[in-house]
Amino acid sequence: MLTIAVASGKGGTGKTTVTANLAVWLASQNVDVAALDCDVEEPNLHLFLRPVWTKTTPENVPVPEVDEERCLGEECRKCVDLCRFKSLIMMAGSVMVFPELCHGCGLCTLACPARAIREGAREIGVVRTGATAGADSARIPVVGGEMRIGEAMAPPLILAVKRTAPASAVRLIDCPPGTSCPVIASLGGADLAVLVTEPTPFGLHDLELAVGVLRKMDIPFGVVINRDGMGDDRTHRYLEREGIPLLGTLPHSAEAAHCYSEGRLHVDALPGFREAYASIWENIRTLAAREVSR
């Protein structure tokens, strides 16, 4: 299995566009491909791939439940004192749990001398699985997560999406933006990453941050410049200077923007985009081959 993470420091550069179009193009070439939406805060991949969801599974993180009968109360306090997330407090001699603050590490359960803590569950969101409509050969399995509004813990849900996804020759992961924990969780285990950027100062600045993440995680990567022509050539120059492979460019056009706005795929609707994705795929394969032999 070749796992390809599609990422970018900044939001709105075209990660989802590239993931969806590449998935559909690969399926049209009879490549066994699955698409994963790991942007669980703002999942958008389904708007483009329009899968029929066949299964929705709530994803839980463990939270402590305290058996008051067994709890030793004020004289013990072990769980309360050990919890670094302040999700347990002592109130009037009994332990109170704040599930929203809990990271599910299990320390309280492990430490309780009276075995008074067992682990219950808090729902952080759902994982959906399904497939795109279409003939059997072109059917793409899609897995996506959606975080509950007001929930702050994305990584466990992201890992659940990856765990749930079927095995396939190529796995495409639509990552969240940024450089913090959700991105790290999405990138983990990827064979290579495709960074999508736009040629503007904001785009370049955030690309540099994403490059920092991938170098730190030691994941090979290349760049796709989306909306090429909208800004200046600083991004092209940066890639040359840094010796970063340019996997391809996608042109800036009003038609492309309109097409995207309606959730339509560029490879289906616009001339030239199939060739662009064919070339991007060729470059991804070259990069993957080079990295395997490294």
């Binding site: 420091g9 900044k10 939001g11 709105g12 550069t13 989802t16 805060e41 703002e42 958008n44 708007l47 050990l82 670094r84 997330f85 990271h103 599910g104 590490c105 299990g106 320390l107 492990l110 430490a111 975080m147 509004i149 007001g150 929930e151 702050a152 813990m153 994305a154 969240p176 933006p177 940024g178 450089t179 913090s180 924990c181 959700p182 991105v183 790290i184 503007t200 100062p201 904001f202 600045h205 955030d206 941050l209 920092g212 993440v213 730190k216 995680m217 909208m230 800004g231 200046d232 009003a254 923007a257 309109h258 995207y260 706005s261 309606e262 959730g263």
Partner: protein
């Protein structure tokens, strides 16, 4: 003192462009960049004279190889796969929970304070600005956002500013939650795309959850006039006042390339649109 936060469910809709434009228009204010993951506001506001302060949050595990007997208790009990087969801690996976330190029979595993990034206090041509940089793969961006907001309030009190304009992070997760709570008004920037509409609805749920009033700006409206209409209708039905509908204009990218706000770069064109947005926003804020 009022706090205005510019948000968007989806990234790339133009939050920073709008924030910078409002910074150019508003009177006595302080700016805060709460997009600590991928801050861009400084590219337009060109902050100077910054003081940098290290930001610590939570803890991270360290294993002393001298004391480690390689029993494996730490790795077995760690739920975040933060300890590998060589008993090296992977900082980016460590939640700082302390399970490893608790189970280690030889006290080889311990916890130290975690340096997650920096926050800066700077001067810009529009006034004081507080911004931050989160280290790569660091968590707790929510807490860094909280620090930025706290420092921005302090700075605003010091200079007697009546307003804080905050560039918010995208999404609906922990950094946005930290940016939103207790603010006076959220201005959501949306573009007329299915993705942005989907995310606008999610972020609206969040503002209601925190009982923060929300206004909306539709950016790049002519990409899809039909969807622009749909956003308008949705806003009307949901009681979200529209502060403005902005056209798609290359001048916005040009302003960015020149390191200027659109108000400075195109005062008579796009700048006028932003002036009208600011009129509506300030009326609502200071009503």
């Amino acid at each position: 003192m009022k706090e205005l936060v510019v948000i968007s469910g989806k990234g790339g809709t133009g939050k920073t462009t709008v924030t910078a434009a409002l910074a150019a228009l508003a009177g006595h204010k302080v700016m805060a960049d709460c997009d600590v993951d991928a801050a861009d506001l400084h590219l337009v506001l060109a902050p100077e004279n910054r003081t940098a302060t290290e930001f610590y949050s939570g803890q991270v595990a360290v294993i002393d190889p001298e004391r480690c007997i390689r029993c494996g208790e730490c790795a077995t009990n760690c739920r975040y796969e933060a300890i590998d087969a060589d008993f090296t801690v992977h900082k980016e996976h460590c939640e700082g929970c302390g399970v490893c330190a608790y189970v280690c029979p030889t006290d080889a595993a311990g916890m130290i304070e975690r340096m997650c990034g920096h926050w800066y206090s700077s001067e810009t041509r529009f006034g004081k600005m507080i911004h931050a940089h989160l280290g790569i793969g660091e968590e707790n961006s929510g807490k860094l956002v909280t620090t930025v907001r706290k420092e921005a309030r302090k700075a605003a009190e010091e200079v007697g500013a009546e307003l804080i304009i905050t560039d918010g992070p995208p999404g609906v997760g922990c950094p946005v939650i930290a940016s939103l709570g207790g603010t006076d008004l959220a201005l959501a920037v949306a573009e007329p795309t299915l993705s942005a509409l989907h995310d606008l609805k999610r972020v609206h749920k969040l503002t209601r959850h925190f009982q923060v009033p929300m206004m909306a700006v539709v950016n790049k409206a002519d990409i899809n006039p039909l969807l622009t209409e749909e956003i308008r209708n949705w806003c009307t039905e949901s009681g979200v006042e529209i502060a403005g509908v902005l056209p798609y204009d290359q001048i916005v990218t040009d302003a960015q390339i020149h390191g200027l706000s659109v108000v400075e770069h195109d005062p008579d064109g796009f700048g006028q649109h932003m002036r009208s947005v600011w009129d509506k926003v300030s009326r609502k804020l200071f009503a």
